[in-house]
Symmetry: C2
Subunit: 222 residues, 2 copies
Amino acid sequence: MKPMATKTSPLSERETRSRLLNAAGEVFAEKGFKAATVREICQRAGANVAAINYHFGDKQKLYADVLRLSHTCAMERHPSDQGLSDRSTPEERLRAFIHSFVHRVFDDGQPAWQGKLMSREMVEPTRALDYLIRHEIGPRRDQLNQTLRQIVGRGASEKLLRHCTQSIVGQCAFYHHARPMIERLYPQQKFDAGGVRERAESIYQFTLAALRGLAAERGGKS
Amino acid sequence: MKPMATKTSPLSERETRSRLLNAAGEVFAEKGFKAATVREICQRAGANVAAINYHFGDKQKLYADVLRLSHTCAMERHPSDQGLSDRSTPEERLRAFIHSFVHRVFDDGQPAWQGKLMSREMVEPTRALDYLIRHEIGPRRDQLNQTLRQIVGRGASEKLLRHCTQSIVGQCAFYHHARPMIERLYPQQKFDAGGVRERAESIYQFTLAALRGLAAERGGKS
């Protein structure tokens, strides 16, 4: 938490905006979009209610901005094209996708509300998710799809690729929802930096073996 | 909801117990273990507070019974050994495990609180989960482990099998947490009876290809 502004140092517009976004993220994550009030967000940010209208328009638009910010931060901390170049192979792209996803899921460095907010959206989506799907998640799904097509073979059906995509994302997202349960089931498995890297690598190896096997069943690339 | 008992038809002990379990399930799922009160549960069940002590001992034991009931109901509706016999192959066992898991996750027929309660336990486990892990989830994990060992080969390391188990469960559990999100990402994919079966089968095919690929990398069964 940033310190409250004192009367002798009025907040700049940019500071106010940033504090409103953070306070809103906390309140939305705790209470959900409907139950959260603009009033509580402003109190927590040390700003007056008019600031919401001035900076964001209304509660709905504030929420959309908060969700976008949360997504952008996570992506910037662990970009899915890290270490890739134009000459990277599809296998390298798949590996980068999985490693960045798993590291995002285990990222304890981000404010806790960012993960919580995204969990809420997955269970009870709001209209704000549509924007993310159209502009962020959808394009990444399409990119992964294209990578998989290169590995499984050009003749692979859209349905097969869709199922493979879900199998990959399911393996990675598991730790987002069930980590406390997994830690109890596998107390010997540590999820420190090395453990997270090892888990990401094993998801990649499992997935690559699956894709190559499915490609071979289809009679190889065509 | 069952109708409230009238004064002319006192509830039998068995009925009271069953109504308390159901009311407790609803309240625990909505509010979590800590925030739920015995008073509210009894009100909802139309029973007096002494009935909790009489039937369960205390709130902690009531909670443990509710969680166990929820797990047992789900397992009985979709047993993981359905259609198997002593002569079933490891591949058939794996397939049965995955199909039953996926069908449990998509089961809309169970009371809604059962799924919610289990979600809560995965995110914020209570002591009651330890019992389930020791007596139910742990043994099933070990059984899956044994099946995988037969497919990947006897020399497979414990670590490899542990990672494979998590990859399998992650693929299945995905729909427990992220179904509304997935439905938005893949509007063309229907999760009716046929769609659920298709998804389960594709997880099995993906997994089998992965396991066989990993076995081949290890130089085949040994």
